[in-house]
Amino acid sequence: MSADPAGRRPRPRLPYLLIAPSFLALLVVLGYPLVDMVTLAFQDMTRKELFSGAAPPWAGLGQFRTILGDGFFWTVVARTALFTVVCVSLTMALGLIVALLMRRTSPWVRAVLAGVLVAVWAMPVMVAAAIFRWLFDADYGLVNWLMSTLPGIDLARHNWFTDPWQGFAVITAVVVWGALPFAAVSLHAALTQIPPELEEAALIDGARPSQLFRYVTFPAIKPLFVMVTTLMAIWDFGVFNQIWLMRGGQPEREYYLLGVYSFIESFAVNRYSTGAAIALVTVVLLLAGAVVYLRQMLRLGEAE
């Protein structure tokens, strides 16, 4: 990078010109709405203002007072947190297992696994939701039939979505199934970059497999593991599509997570400001995860 300062010095403006289009696009289409969202959360915008174009009245902290004082909001927050923890743990655990497994299989099995992972990765969310709705269909779904073949279980005409816990189990399955390939492929990529000598040396020194993993393998992939985990957490915390689609665009209140709640307040009830306030709280809650992710990324970036 330092070979040619002369070529760069005379034109210090060039890099700024190069990033200008990206920066402008981000500023207008993302920065402005972000500011707008914050403003909106302190106002009271309804359908009337949307169509007349009149400035919505200020509401101060009113929106926040309403939602933070509402027990249901905290139920949704707790539900979202629980959902995120379960989904992320399952995805990362299974992803790690698949990634470790891929290292030990023959090349052709690894190729098969990689092919399947990529195919699953490529499945659009609404396709995945459609497939799982069909698999878990009350009358003709494969899952009910399969489970009913087990002794002592009869799930004929069992509707998985009557009980939200079971419904969320299905939604978790869709989310984890969809996210697993990304986790497994990235972790496998990180595993292949560990120099084999490292693990061989530990084995020669008499490390047991569990010790090998704990003291050699895992520390080597830890930066990427942390990064993927935070990314997953951020995505799962803001989950919207899977719930929306699995509930046919009309999720019951028992199925509200923060993303769905904010969307419904805005576009079904037309209380845009309440929706914005909920979205703002969501983003603030996400910031905790974001800090971890950023630090990890920047640390990786500096190692470059």
Binding site: L26, V116, V118, A119, M123, L231, G249
Partner: protein
């Protein structure tokens, strides 16, 4: 080593079968006549394959307009984000300048903002600009959501190209632009392909935003078509699975075509910064 490996192979195949099964079940159902779909116990292999479900799915009124719409949005997003993204990626990979780190932080942070949280203000913004219900508006918004990833990934690819190559070209009389076009661009081609597929897939798969932004049925994308299919056809699972297969097909083909490059991109772009 032989014996345990066979056990792992078996386990690997089992995992592959389990993970791939939903996809198999989708394709199987898509090729099945309705009578077989709704019969228990189910069969696990095709016996009387039919194209009837596909004909029904493709026969819906808005299918072809929506394919066109998806293609326009996908290609538009890819094209613009590649051009804009390559410029920024080049700046990040080849220059040290004040504000570089801040820009990187912006790029990385933006990737984390959940799209669903921004729908309302984005909708209001496009509403003010008269860009709701227009494909251009959707492309503009998608651009912003694919750009950070594009820049980050391409910056990895460009950083992997030795700067000496460009410098040699410049010594030989190429301008900076000439060196970029003749040296960087050809070497960057694989990276551009991988990145564009990723952007394309994101645009192809997105649902909420187009659902809010596009109201004319003919302008909507395949993802909305598929979801409306679920409601308008009730439990026509044959048609639904055929529609799902059609929606997923282009993405799967793209993905499989460049999967190696995506893995390489993850390794160079994301892992090593």
């Amino acid at each position: 080593m032989r014996r345990p490996r066979r056990r792992y192979d078996l386990l690997g195949l089992l995992v592959a079968a389990l993970l791939g099964f939903p996809v198999y079940w989708m394709v199987l159902t898509a090729f099945r006549p309705a009578t077989e779909i709704l019969s228990l116990p189910p069969e696990f292999w095709p016996s009387h394959p039919t194209l009837g479900n596909f004909a029904r799915a493709m026969g819906t009124e808005t299918f072809w307009p929506n394919v066109r719409s998806s293609a326009v949005i996908g290609l538009g997003t890819v094209l613009v984000s590649l051009v804009v993204g390559t410029l920024a990626a080049f700046a990040l990979a080849r220059f040290r300048f004040a504000g570089r780190k801040a820009f990187v932080v912006v790029i990385l942070t933006v990737q984390m903002i959940p799209l669903a949280a921004l729908i309302i203000p984005v909708y209001l913004l496009l509403n003010d600009a008269g860009l709701t219900d227009s494909l251009g508006g959707v492309i503009l918004v998608y651009l912003v959501f694919t750009l950070p990833f594009t820049v980050w990934m391409l910056h990895g690819f460009i950083a992997a190209i030795p700067a000496e190559l460009e410098e040699a070209a410049m010594v030989d009389g190429c301008g900076r632009f000439g060196a970029f076009v003749r040296i960087i661009l050809p070497l960057l081609a694989p990276g551009l392909v991988a990145t564009s597929v990723f952007a394309m897939v994101q645009a192809w798969n997105e649902y909420v935003l187009v659902y809010v932004l596009l109201s004319t049925p003919e302008k909507q994308t395949l993802s909305i078509w598929l979801v409306s299919f679920q409601t308008s056809f009730g439990t026509d699972y044959g048609g639904l699975m055929a529609g799902a297969t059609l929606t997923a097909l282009p993405v799967v083909i793209f993905f499989l075509a460049v999967q190696r490059k995506i893995a390489a991109g993850l390794a160079t772009g994301a892992v090593k910064g």
